[in-house]
């Protein structure tokens, strides 16, 4: 099929304008860019379907003269969905305006904080820094409790002597005793 000059030109022009607006910081212009690109895409899909023809309605056009109905069905829903999404974007603009009296895509502070390596994630905590009852059982030592009478005096003494040496003895919280 021989392509027309007009349609690619319109498609390219709409895309260029849409992309330029999409890269703006103003949300209004972003939405406008979104609409332009949506229109351009719809036109691209439809024009790629083939040359212009008669409306695909039986009785109006002979089947061989019809334009291809399938891309039309695809584009039809795309048009309505574009409306839904554009309305959603506008609702976002409204929200942004109400919250901060701005309608710009600002710099994401969270991203910036991550980039500066700020903030502590829970898993970055060393188990040694946790409270004893929060330590994982296979970690740390059990000798953080205060002196206790019993056959274990020797162990206590050793614990004092070797304070600071990590041991893998463990102290589980009682699963039933503590609740009572």
């Amino acid at each position: 099929m021989t392509p027309t000059v007009v349609l690619p030109l319109v498609i390219g022009g709409l895309y260029a304008a849409g992309v330029y607006l999409l890269l703006d910081r103003s949300l209004t212009r972003v939405v406008l860019g979104f609409l332009l690109m949506g229109n351009a895409t719809n036109l691209l899909v439809l024009s790629a379907a083939g040359p212009a023809g008669g409306p695909p309605i039986i009785g109006v056009t002979e089947p061989e003269d019809m334009s291809d109905p399938l891309p039309q069905a695809l584009v039809l829903t795309a048009i309505v969905i574009t409306f839904g999404i554009a309305s959603f974007l506008l609702a976002i603009i409204h929200r942004s305006w109400r919250l901060v009296r701005q309608e710009v895509v600002g710099v994401d502070e969270e991203d910036r904080r991550v980039a500066r390596r700020e903030g502590v994630h829970a898993d970055e905590l060393d188990p040694d820094d946790l409270a004893p009852e929060d330590r994982p059982a296979a970690h740390a030592d059990s000798l953080h409790r205060t002196a206790r009478a019993g056959d274990s005096t020797a162990e206590e003494a050793l614990a004092r002597r070797y304070a600071g040496i990590p041991s893998d003895d463990i102290d589980l919280p009682p699963t039933r005793g503590a609740s009572r």
Binding site: L22, V75, D151
Partner: protein, 959 residues
């Protein structure tokens, strides 16, 4: 077998309900489920011992050749009996372990029952992938059981640690299973083991599968998750982390050993890790002061022992391994349950706080001592039989290589000595009277155990005692499995308590004496252990790895995510230019010839569209920019019509109008002009990218226009549309019949978008209160009839300066006609341009008209329904009509054509897809109404009532 698994599933689902009805007694009912499994399993003993097997196969996903294949042979029977028997007893134990008022018992009961079912499935599965499914199910349930309510940090960490480790191993195993399946040409476990094939693929697969087994069974260096998992309640520790789940790795190794023991890498891995684990576990068990942790490290040690035995790949060691597995499950669960009783009764498990408990709980002490004797390897218990068999086997053969066999034997003897030592420490710690403590500590037993509470440990302990002398009875079952492997020793030794005076007996004596000696000098040992303690541990390594992953994630995120949306979009677009762009330039079939246009009108409209688009870049006044973008939309509608797409043109025209309305509704709150925030350099970069993308897309368009040479799939659409869809408008039939699934998804998307809009405006509710006229106003004008003296019902609520008589008159005259027209479009759309989308948009425009003319009260009077109701009803109608096709014996969403002749109307043809279109219509109307309600009426209300914060008392909204 499948019925048993389903029974577990049903019981697991019902468990929370049962617990709500019957409290903790529900566990007794639930225990019947594994008990039934135990009864069934043992009833098949005769078949299996006789050399037979029970098989069941049900097609699961035939398209993928997935079947649920279950098989009960000697090995599976041994493990299944273990899993179900111990499971039933543990559930009985739970009935007294939990207090009547405990929270989360129902959840726990369900999870534990479901776990029992998964474990049973795991040992019965004969399909590699099915095995994997059950394998991961046990991992997930273990995670849930360890994590408990999720309220404690330590429990959460232990649960996630166990999950991360076992899942990592499980994923490696999945890859390994697939490699093995491909290498051997079958996914049936029984066939794979019979003929595993060979080659590097098989070797790699085997090593990966072993990785799964090693993590699941807590072998060094992944052993640390098991002690940490002791956060879980004691029944879980006894069942999952002693008897059942951690045995999964042992089971898998035992299952594969007959075929895979000679695969390169198998023996070094299994034997090396097994012996190392046994020693490390025993060494660390010696210094624990928490009875439960002592047992946990003891379990790690014993798992290493079992892994060594079943992985060796010889008949004599396999027999010893299976006997030892049974013995271990019996004694270890007894001990765990006993510790649970102690914990329950005294409130502590610390052996430094317990004294003289043996005299006060004699029954418990007796049961625990029996189990401990079995663990240490004292005659006449089953543990002694298993250990003897292992020592004898290694003394005479056991492994192809003598040196290795003796080295392993030395390791096992040393490990057994450690076992004996920590067993003594356990018994002494739990029950003995300690000189430095008062004769009874704690002084009072808070909760003396009831007989039912003691039942499970006593039964399990006694079983270990009975099975020792009765071990020859186990011989046929054990032999049924072990005979699948070659005998390396001179003669096969049968399981028995007494084999006469032989070297193994001396070794057993040596382990016991060594254990006693280690226990006697326990403080010395403790001192040494502390002296040798080093900073590094496998657990430390695990956390360091996790932290390193976290840091890497932060590094990657911080480097790539700089927080600027234009920068992200620019990056994406540049990639688009670089990759598809270069393909377009170098590879695309460029058209050889061109036409200027289809019609001159097309060129004219194209020029208008381009000019409007260019103006949109220059204009900084908001509304004007919106208007010129609207012009491109209307221009497009004309181009659509010229292209031969009247439906598209109609829809585009309506949508463009509605879009303008929505823009105006939102932008009326914003300043008139858009501030320019970009420096000239940024604008230049944007311009370059924009022009390049425009050129690229123009090129794509040109190539796409010329490249279409094949016959389109839609060539038969017109004929099909009429024959099957019963409509003349092919596009509409495509929407509601040929590609109705697409449309259903797309209207669902509209529902989501509408809900999103409403939630962004109303924040906490789906919609606001519908603005209606006060009751008396309505009563005054006479119930539900239209107002006679005014043009519109609700416009009087508007301030006079905002009213427009012309608009009101027009609205009054046009509204009903437009609605009728929209219905006409809906009904005629099957044969002429129109349909649900266009009809809904027109109806939406009618509502827009009412709102613009009369304000928010008028909108409330025009459509006194919740938009959510319309959206939901639409989705329901569309979905139901799809199912309706089924009623006429067709497929989902297939159209049925009903034709009949009525007296007055003549021939009536009803196609069921009309109902689908009605659903679409309702959804589109709902969308428009939602937009008007939130962005129109609600914004008016906020302005009228100066409700800028919209906050309820003591509620804070981050603004």
């Amino acid at each position: 077998m499948l019925a048993l698994l389903l029974l577990h599933l049903v019981a697991g689902v019902l468990a929370p309900v049962l617990v709500r009805w019957w409290g903790r007694q529900a566990f007794l009912a639930l225990a019947l489920v594994p008990a039934a499994g135990f009864a069934w399993t043992t009833s098949r003993l005769g078949t299996v011992v006789g050399g037979g097997e029970v098989r069941q196969s049900v097609a699961w996903v035939p398209e993928l050749d997935l079947t649920v294949t279950l098989r009960l042979d000697a090995l599976a029977l041994a493990f299944a009996a273990l899993v179900t028997g111990v499971g039933a007893l543990v559930l009985v134990y739970c009935a007294r372990y939990f207090e009547p008022g405990d929270e989360g018992t129902g959840r726990f009961a369900g999870t534990l029952t479901a776990f029992a079912g998964s474990m049973l499935g795991l040992v019965l599965a004969d399909d590699l992938l099915l095995l994997y499914v059950f394998w991961e199910l046990t991992t997930v349930f273990s995670f849930l059981l360890i994590g408990g309510s999720g309220a404690r940090l330590a429990a959460r960490r232990a649960a996630s640690q166990a999950l991360v480790l076992t899942t990592a191993g499980g994923l490696a195993m999945l890859v390994g299973l697939i490699m093995i399946g491909e290498a051997s040409g079958s996914y049936l476990l029984s066939e794979v083991v019979a003929d595993p094939g060979s080659g590097p693929l098989l070797t790699a697969g085997t090593v990966l599968v072993l990785a799964g087994a090693v993590t699941k069974s807590a072998m060094v260096p992944f052993h640390f998750w098991l002690p940490a998992a002791m956060e879980a309640p004691t029944p879980v520790s006894a069942y999952l982390h002693a008897a059942a789940m951690v045995k999964a790795g042992v089971y898998l190794v035992a299952r594969l050993a007959p075929g895979f023991a000679d695969v390169p890498g198998w023996r070094p891995l299994v034997l090396g890790l097994g012996v190392a684990t046994m020693l490390v576990g025993g060494y660390r068990a010696l210094r624990q002061t928490d009875l439960k942790l002592l047992l946990a490290f003891g379990t790690v040690s014993q798992l290493g022992f079992l892994m060594t035995l079943v992985g060796a790949g010889s008949r004599e060691l396999a027999a010893a391994g299976l006997a030892m597995t049974l013995a271990h499950a019996l004694f270890k669960s007894t001990l765990f349950l006993s510790v649970g009783v102690i914990d329950h009764a005294t409130g502590t498990r610390d052996l430094r706080e317990l004294s003289g408990l043996g005299r006060r709980l004699p029954v418990l002490a007796a049961a625990a001592c029996l189990a401990a004797a079995s663990m240490a390897g004292l005659p006449p218990l089953l543990g002694f039989v298993g250990k003897e068999a292992a020592f004898t086997a290694l003394w005479d053969g056991g492994l192809p290589d003598r040196t290795t066999a003796l080295a392993v034997l030395a390791g096992l003897v040393l490990g057994s000595a450690l076992t004996a030592a920590y067993t003594l420490r356990l018994v002494w710690g739990a029950f003995a009277r300690k000189p430095a403590l008062p004769p009874t500590a704690p002084a009072e037993l808070a909760h003396p155990p009831t007989p039912l509470f003691l039942a499970a440990p006593v039964v399990l302990g006694l079983t270990g005692l009975v099975l020792g002398p009765a071990s020859p009875l186990l011989e046929p079952l054990v032999a049924g499995y072990a005979d699948t492997m070659p005998l390396l020793a001179g003669e096969a030794e049968k399981l028995a308590l007494w084999h006469g005076w032989q070297p193994a007996l001396a070794l057993s004596l040596l382990t016991l004496l060594g254990g006693a000696a280690l226990f006697a000098v326990r403080y010395r040992v403790y001192q040494l252990q502390r002296g040798w303690a080093v900073g590094a541990s496998a657990d430390e390594g695990y956390w360091n790895t996790l932290q390193a992953v976290d840091r890497l994630a932060v590094l990657v995120t911080g480097t790539t995510q700089r927080g600027s949306l234009p920068a992200y979009l620019g990056t994406i677009l540049v990639v688009v230019l670089a990759l598809p762009g270069s393909v377009l330039v170098f590879r695309a079939p460029w058209p050889g010839e061109w036409r200027a246009w289809d019609t001159p009108v097309q060129a004219l409209v194209g020029a208008v569209v381009l000019i409007a688009a260019a103006l949109a870049l220059r204009i900084h006044q908001r509304l004007s920019a919106v208007l010129v973008v609207g012009v491109t939309g209307y221009g497009l509608a004309v181009l659509f019509a010229l292209q031969g797409a009247p439906d598209l043109a109609l829809t585009q025209f309506l949508v463009e109008t509605l879009t303008l309305v929505v823009f105006v509704l939102v932008l009326r709150k914003l300043p008139k002009d858009i501030t320019e925030r970009h420096r000239p350099r940024e604008r230049a970069v944007r311009g370059v990218i924009a022009v390049a993308v425009g050129l690229l897309m123009a090129g794509v368009g040109a190539v796409a226009l010329s490249a279409r040479t094949a016959t389109p799939v839609s060539v038969d659409h017109p004929e099909q549309a009429y024959d099957f869809g019963g409509g003349e408008n092919v596009v509409n039939v495509t929407l509601v019949d040929i590609r109705a699934w697409d449309t259903l998804g797309e209207v669902a998307l509209l529902v989501v978008a509408a809900t999103g809009i409403a939630s962004l405006v109303f924040l906490r509710r789906r919609t606001g209160v519908i603005a209606r006229l006060a009751q008396e106003q309505r009563a005054a004008r006479g119930s539900r009839r239209a107002p006679r003296r005014r043009w519109l019902a609700g416009s009087e609520a508007l301030p006079p300066e905002r009213r427009s008589v012309v608009l009101e008159v027009l609205t009054r005259i046009l509204f009903h006609s437009i609605v009728v027209f929209s219905l006409f479009l809906l009904f005629s759309g099957h044969n002429q341009p129109g349909g649900g989308f266009a009809g809904g948009l027109v109806a939406g425009l009618a509502l827009v008209l009412r709102y613009l003319a009369g304000g928010r009260y008028e909108l409330g009077e025009a459509a006194p329904v919740d938009p959510g109701l319309l959206l939901g009803a639409g989705l329901l109608v569309a979905g139901t009509s799809g199912v309706g096709g089924l009623l006429f014996g067709a497929e989902v969403l297939q159209t049925a054509i009903l034709e009949t002749t009525l007296p007055v109307l003549g021939d009536v043809k009803l196609v069921t897809s009309l109902f689908f279109d009605m659903g679409v219509y309702l959804i589109v109307v709902g969308l428009v109404l939602d937009v008007l309600r939130s962005l129109g009426a609600e914004l008016d209300r906020q302005e009228d009532e100066d409700d800028t914060l919209d906050v309820a008392p003591e509620e804070v909204i981050l603004r």
